[in-house]
Subunit: 201 residues, 4 copies
Amino acid sequence: MAEEGEEGRPGVGRVEAFSDGVVAIIVTIMVLELHPPVAEGMDRLWTLWPVFLAYVLSYAYVAIYWVNHHRLFGHATRVTNGLIWWNMLLLFTLSLVPFSTSYLGEHHFSREATWVYLATMLFPAIAYTFLQRVIRVTGRQGEAAETYHRQTIRKAIVATLIYIAGALLTFVSPWFGVAAAALVAVLWFLPYGPLDRLFAR
Amino acid sequence: MAEEGEEGRPGVGRVEAFSDGVVAIIVTIMVLELHPPVAEGMDRLWTLWPVFLAYVLSYAYVAIYWVNHHRLFGHATRVTNGLIWWNMLLLFTLSLVPFSTSYLGEHHFSREATWVYLATMLFPAIAYTFLQRVIRVTGRQGEAAETYHRQTIRKAIVATLIYIAGALLTFVSPWFGVAAAALVAVLWFLPYGPLDRLFAR
Amino acid sequence: MAEEGEEGRPGVGRVEAFSDGVVAIIVTIMVLELHPPVAEGMDRLWTLWPVFLAYVLSYAYVAIYWVNHHRLFGHATRVTNGLIWWNMLLLFTLSLVPFSTSYLGEHHFSREATWVYLATMLFPAIAYTFLQRVIRVTGRQGEAAETYHRQTIRKAIVATLIYIAGALLTFVSPWFGVAAAALVAVLWFLPYGPLDRLFAR
Amino acid sequence: MAEEGEEGRPGVGRVEAFSDGVVAIIVTIMVLELHPPVAEGMDRLWTLWPVFLAYVLSYAYVAIYWVNHHRLFGHATRVTNGLIWWNMLLLFTLSLVPFSTSYLGEHHFSREATWVYLATMLFPAIAYTFLQRVIRVTGRQGEAAETYHRQTIRKAIVATLIYIAGALLTFVSPWFGVAAAALVAVLWFLPYGPLDRLFAR
């Protein structure tokens, strides 16, 4: 946490800690949208499913960003102007997720709400791409780092294409958009096993 | 907090810090359900007791998870894919506690609300069990670690059985369910003395 | 943050980090009570003064606890069962401050609200006293530590007496209660200069 | 995080961690003001622009404070009474930003709301100035530190003058006030490149 106390990574720990705080709050305030129904009865509770499903999707989405952020910052070695401000922009774009999540849940996955939701999901992807570029240039160098960056950037491009496809297919049915969001979650979730094995080497 | 700065526990500190943030928020937003009554008078304040009691139960519940998480992560030595995602799932299930707490308080410990509440309490137990299994396999080895895992898993099984018994007895009276939740809190609370002595060795 | 990574203070850092998170949230959610008036005009803004004054008092109160907690934990050397649970109880009692603050502000410093507020302020004092006792016994020993404990315990007793006097004088006018809360803030605030000089030796 | 564990910066890390927590919450709760409109339609969404613009301005404002705080604390070497309490006052003044942001957004950048907003922005500047003075005296000494302090204090004076000019020009049009806030953001944002190069030496 100290500028010098981190063996050659001056200040990186504090940027991580601040990002952790912001992401932890983003992920948690979304659950506040789950208002308990005033009337009793399992059928009343059941009417919450769109809000709940929207929460699950967004929790997975933000969790994926945290995990990627965690791994990416493992490659950062110093705090530059670019790192701080692209990171701030990434956190800003993520902070809009609770809004679009609540919009999606309250409007029961309508076509328009799904559209707004998928749009919100593209902004963090853009900020993250620039953040990664900064860390790729100023952070740890070497073959392992290069492999990491190449692999994750490739995956990010695929994820972005899936989101855009989902946004287009939302014209047919909003559920294609939701499926796109779920598919990206699976995409990021699955291949960490292989990546881990790569890291372990 | 740094990947390397932690003497052989790469990245574990940051997972802990993120979890701390999420749990701190979960525990604190529950108090927001305690709305001050508009009218004055001690009898008006008194009407808050179900919300307050629900808060006390849930605070104890989440606090126990934090303490167990704290001890369990003391045995983690590296961040694996399994550790990150089971931990994320644990935090997700805990994030539902404010919802069911507010449901319980607003519906004055009705049979149904107690049921929903106890169900919510089972989800974190399941996620925690898998998280512990991951750390048992990938974390610190040795006899002390094995003793710790055996003891806490045994206690977790007893706790789960008490919850299920409480859920069944809620058919008789919701207060059995509440008593079950309180009993589990006492169960986890009490035996840390002996555990500590074990640790001190 | 790591159990071993802290030079002889196993796990203390993580208890501090969790406490920081909870206190940071407590202190910040209180500002949410400051709802901007719907109508425009400086006179409308002015009607917020009781809510604002209650916020100022409580911010100072919680800030004092954080500072004292920060210094007290500087004397902790290991995490015991007692330390964890008294700390959890302290955080619980502090988490009730936003409630009584909002009660105080919404009821415009009425006699009853001031009473409730002062009562809420006594709970953390009790939990803190037990927490300090635990750290005094299990934490750092020596003359400097002893001096620190003696001085702060003495001050805590004086603070508690002022609160009780304020609670009694609230029968005359609630403003005595508010003055008591302010006086305690000044009491804790002022003498850190001398304490610092003591520490510096 | 430990009092001793930080190579000559006793306790500074924990003050940073607490400040990070508070600032992370301040920055994130502002997004809660973005209530999704009940009615569907892009034109309904569009009515949110004042609240959104107010959020963008305030996010940039608080982010700038965090970055400055981050760099300033890189110069702190020990926790003094002055450092703790000016920092607490800074966090208090920043905690009023969500209030004035929501006032600004809800009153659609009216003259009065812009005025209140700019006033709120002056308070943190004053607290920050005193905090910097404390760290300048008690923190790291030397030519580089002196250059840093001289440069940032100069910039802070310019920023304050822009705010005051903006507050006066708000009599003409509130958009001058908004422009002043944006201009200060750019002022702080831009020159970190050169500062970084200075730091790198």
